[in-house]
C-alpha cells in the first residue's frame, strides 16, 4: 500500500473529512476550519488586494486595513522580500508604506533571534518586570480561558474567534495575552502554547517573543491597557455599561490599572500603551 497521502479531492469538505480522519488528535482539539484557504494562488490574491497605503493609519482598529497575509508569510508561501518589494512598487512614495515594511521587519527580527537562540525561545529571556517573580505565575492555562467562559465579554469573544477561525487581529492578541499574563497571572508559555495550537500563522519565533514582550520578559516593562483602549479600537462592539459586559476589571486610568495589576512597582505615565506597539511586528 502506498505511504503517500492523498492529493486529489473533489471538494474542500472531502479534504477536511480526510484530514480529520488522518489526524484525529488535531480534530479533537478543534474541528473548526478557517475560511481562508492555503496556497500560493490565495496568497497572491490577498497581496494584490491589500490596502497597504491605508495600513498605517487604520491598523490598530479591528476593522482596519490589515492585510491578513501572516499565514502565508509564516509558511513561506510569500517571502518577506517579495512582499516588501510589492509594497514599494504599489506606493507613490516609500514613506506611505514604511509602517507596513517596519512590521515586516519585526518578523525578520524575531526570526533572527530564533535562529540564534533556538529552543531557548521557550524560556524567559529576561526576568519579569512586574514586581512578581516567575514562580508566582501559574504554569497552566485556566480552563475558562481556553473555553472562552471567563465572563469577560471581549476576552471570551476573542477566545472563541481564536478557536474557530485561527485568526485574531494583532490588537486582540495583545489584549488577550496581557489578560492571561497580567490579569490572571499565568506564565506566558501557557498562553503561547495555546495560541500555537490555533493560530494559522502560529510560529514559535513571532508568537513566543511577542508573548514575552507583553509579559515583560523581553521588554522594559509589561504591556497593559484599559477598557477605554478596547472600546476605542473595536467599533461599537463593547460600547455601553461595562458591567453588562463583565468589563469592570478593565475600568480606570492606566495609572489605576497599573496600581491594581502591579502593586509592588511604580510604573510612570510613560508606561502606558503607546500608539505603536512592538507586538504588532509579526502580523502585518
Amino acid at each position: 500500500m502506498s505511504r503517500d497521502m492523498r492529493r486529489s479531492f473533489s471538494t474542500r469538505d472531502e479534504l477536511v473529512a480526510y484530514l480529520a480522519q488522518e489526524f484525529p488528535a488535531a480534530a479533537q482539539i478543534s474541528s473548526h476550519v478557517a475560511s481562508v484557504r492555503g496556497g500560493r494562488s490565495q496568497a497572491e490574491q490577498r497581496l494584490s488586494e491589500a490596502r497597504l497605503r491605508d495600513y498605517a493609519s487604520t491598523r490598530s482598529y479591528l476593522d482596519g486595513a490589515v492585510t491578513r497575509l501572516s499565514p502565508f508569510i509564516r509558511y513561506g508561501v510569500l517571502s518577506l522580500d517579495e512582499v516588501r518589494n510589492h509594497a514599494l512598487a504599489a506606493a507613490h512614495n516609500p514613506g506611505e508604506v514604511e509602517k507596513f515594511i517596519n512590521e515586516l521587519a519585526w518578523r525578520d527580527y524575531w526570526q533572527r533571534i530564533y535562529a540564534e537562540i533556538g529552543e531557548a525561545i521557550w524560556e524567559d529571556i529576561e526576568p519579569y518586570k512586574t514586581g512578581f517573580p516567575a514562580s508566582e505565575y501559574a504554569n497552566e492555562l485556566p480552563e475558562d480561558i481556553s473555553s472562552g467562559t471567563t465572563g469577560v465579554r471581549f476576552i471570551d469573544d476573542f477566545c472563541h474567534e481564536l478557536a474557530t477561525t485561527g485568526y485574531l487581529h494583532n490588537h486582540a492578541r495583545m489584549w488577550l495575552a496581557a489578560y492571561v499574563v497580567h490579569w490572571r497571572r499565568v506564565r506566558w508559555q501557557a498562553g503561547a502554547r495555546w495560541f500555537l495550537q490555533h493560530l494559522l500563522d502560529g510560529d514559535p519565533a513571532s508568537n513566543n517573543l511577542s508573548w514575552q514582550w507583553v509579559a515583560s520578559t523581553f521588554s522594559h516593562k509589561p504591556y497593559y491597557y484599559n477598557l477605554e483602549n478596547v472600546v476605542r479600537y473595536t467599533g461599537t462592539r463593547y460600547q455601553g455599561n461595562p458591567r453588562d459586559f463583565g468589563h469592570e476589571a478593565f475600568e480606570g486610568s492606566y495609572d489605576e490599572i497599573a496600581r491594581r495589576l502591579f502593586p509592588r512597582i511604580d510604573l510612570s505615565e510613560t508606561d502606558r500603551e503607546r500608539p505603536r506597539a512592538p507586538h504588532k511586528g509579526r502580523k502585518p
Binding site: A20, S31, D81, N85, G166, G202
Partner: protein, 147 residues
C-alpha cells in the same frame, strides 16, 4: 547525478529555492508526527498547510522526518538532497541527521532564499529599535541590497 527535493513547512512557496533550483525533481513533504504530538495543533492549521501542499509538486507522507526523507532519496537513487533553509533548530537537527545517514559521496544542500535585508555587520538584536535602526535604509529599498 539524481537529485530529490525535501520541502518543509517553513517554505511552502512554489518559488522556494530548492524547487527553483531543480524543477521537476522528485520532491517530498513529511508531516512530522513528533512535532504534531508535541505542539498539538488544531485541524484548521493542518488544513491550511495541506492546501498549500496541494499547489506544490510534492509527495506527501508522514512519520519520522529523517527516516522518510532518507527513504525517499533511496527510492529515487538520489545522491543529492536539496532543501530550503529554516531558522528552526529542529530543522537544522534533522538536516544533520539526514546528512549523517546519507551514503558516502552523496550530500544534502541547504539553500537560502533572498533575505529581507542583507547588512554587512550583524545587527544588534537586543531590542527591535536597535535592529531597525541598523537595517531601515536597506529594508526600504526593493530587493536585498547590501548596505
Amino acid at each position: 547525478m539524481k537529485i530529490v527535493v525535501w520541502v518543509h513547512a517553513d517554505n511552502l512557496s512554489p518559488q522556494q529555492p530548492a524547487l527553483l533550483r531543480q524543477p521537476g525533481a522528485p520532491a517530498i513533504f513529511v508531516w512530522d508526527d513528533a512535532l504534531l504530538a508535541e505542539w498539538k495543533i488544531s485541524l484548521k492549521r493542518i488544513v491550511f498547510i495541506y492546501e498549500c501542499l496541494l499547489e506544490l509538486p510534492v509527495v506527501i507522507r508522514r512519520g519520522d522526518v529523517v527516516q522518510e526523507v532518507c527513504d525517499f532519496a533511496r527510492e529515487h537513487q538520489a545522491s543529492q538532497i536539496l532543501t530550503a533553509a529554516s531558522p528552526s533548530s529542529r530543522h537544522r537537527a534533522y538536516c544533520r541527521a539526514v546528512a549523517a545517514q546519507m551514503p558516502a559521496g552523496s550530500r544534502l544542500e541547504v539553500l537560502r532564499e533572498r533575505p529581507f535585508v542583507s547588512v554587512r555587520k550583524a545587527p544588534d538584536l537586543k531590542r527591535f529599535s536597535r535592529y531597525w535602526g541598523a537595517v531601515r535604509a536597506v529594508a526600504m529599498q526593493p530587493g536585498s541590497n547590501w548596505d
